[in-house]
Amino acid sequence: MPGFIDRMLTLDRRWIFLFVLVSVATPIIYPIGLPVTTTGSTRAAFEYIEALKPGDVVWISFDYGPSSAPENDPMAEAIMRQCFTKKVRVLVSVFYPLGGLGLANSAVAKVTAEFPDLKYGEDYVNLGYKDGAAAVMHRLGDDISGPFPTDVNGRPIGEIPMMRGIHDIRQVKLVFTAATGIIGEWWITQVHSQFGTPIIIGPTAVSAPKYYAYLNAGQLLGMLGGMKGAAEYEKLLAGAHPELAKFYKTTRAFTATKGMDGQTVIHTVILAFIVLGNYAFFRARAAKKRGAA
């Protein structure tokens, strides 16, 4: 065993890469179906949207790009499905410049196709991408039509029926931001602190730890942390609205719940790596001390 571990420590790292690749690919080929447990912050987010009334407006901001799509796409889609099921109207925006707009357009097209009764301009509006997110958010307390004079396709905001009753951010019941990086923080520290708008955030797992501080301070209603948060939300959604469960059962479509199998396997692998590496480290240190003595 000791010789094996010493050989492992000097192994070409490409074998480690291959091992990681196989570890992640195996649950995709042979799904395990491990259970998902929910956390308080995700339940709080879910229950808030469940309590909204038909006609209420939720603002969904796609503030992420392809670099975090496997985490954020499932969150945004789940929230949209819940809103449309509850006949809540949806405003979509994008503030992330590198790829957010394409993901937003694709997600909106995908989810709205699942609800054939929805009408663009009455049930949902896509405002598109805007530069200068901080300036836009600063202005939202005055009006929405200033920074967003048209929707994503260039149609003037004044001509869109849904926007006639929504003058500024105060008419929006909730902002959900699926975010990577600092844009999510701006929604909390600028929009919520200045205008009191309730915020739910769906950050990537990398940035989720810092948002616990905002959650503790009451600046956030809820949080969907990374792929786990998205999987929790999918579970809650399918439980409360069984008619939506079919969207999470298809074999080819990627869902956060399916992704958690791979997460579990790789967490096991990495923990094993850490334990093995430290075992070898302490063994070597002990041998050195014995040699010195």
Binding site: I29, S68, P70, L98, D131, A134, P149, T189, G226, K228
Partner: protein, 211 residues
């Protein structure tokens, strides 16, 4: 999203070209990397033109110049920004740069104070009007915030008392960074899961006729 057969093959080959870097640096990866850089920059051109410059600058002036004549100023300031690339007149771009930087910093100033400092301090303050199970949690929280702030205070040399408190701050930071590492593992692996899901289920399986 349906990419079609050609689109799926393009996406799959580019994915494999990027993953080939794990074996070693090679021309396929370098090609994919350069293509990514170029397409990203072209992407910026597309979105800023279609989503900001046309609807917020050009169209308002074209449709109603009387109401929007003042937008000439930010348009000209934007053009002036590019004068930094002219050796003789680079200094002219300082006007646009000064306005741009100081405005966003001004917005950031109020955001920091009202959105970060005050709410976070409010949470850290421990109410002593009554004691229950949350009091202990709040005490630990307050100890954590205070010790971390003392650790990061570098303006004066730390004395024997503050050194001990700062040490506690380091422990809180280590727990936080360890937790962050755990979350980071999940975040990074999620991307790999997404790509392998695409390669296996949307490229290889249809190619092999597996449903």
């Amino acid at each position: 999203m349906e990419l079609g057969v050609v689109g799926t093959w393009i996406a799959a080959l580019l994915t494999l070209a990027c993953l080939s870097f794990l074996y070693k640096d090679n021309p396929f990866f370098r090609f994919a990397e350069s293509l990514f850089a170029g397409v990203s920059l072209g992407y910026y051109v597309g979105i800023t033109l279609n989503q900001t410059l046309m609807p917020n600058l050009w169209e308002p002036m074209r449709q109603n110049f009387g109401q929007n004549w003042d937008l000439l100023v930010p348009g000209l300031l934007g053009v002036i920004l590019y004068m930094r690339y002219l050796p003789k007149f680079g200094w002219v771009s300082r006007y646009a740069l000064a306005i741009y930087v100081t405005y966003y910093i001004g917005v950031d100033f109020t955001r920091r104070l009202h959105g970060e400092v005050l709410p976070q301090l409010g949470r850290a303050i421990l109410p002593l009007s009554h004691f229950d199970s949350r009091t202990l949690v709040s005490a630990i929280f307050m100890l954590g915030v205070g010790s971390v702030l003392i650790y990061f205070f570098f303006s004066r040399e730390q004395g024997p008392v503050t050194k001990r408190i700062a040490r506690a701050g380091i422990w809180f930071l280590m727990i936080s960074f360890g937790a962050a590492f755990g979350f980071t593992v999940m975040g990074r692996v999620a991307l790999l899961i997404g790509r392998l899901n695409f390669l296996i289920l949307q490229w290889i399986y249809p190619m092999l006729g597996i449903s």
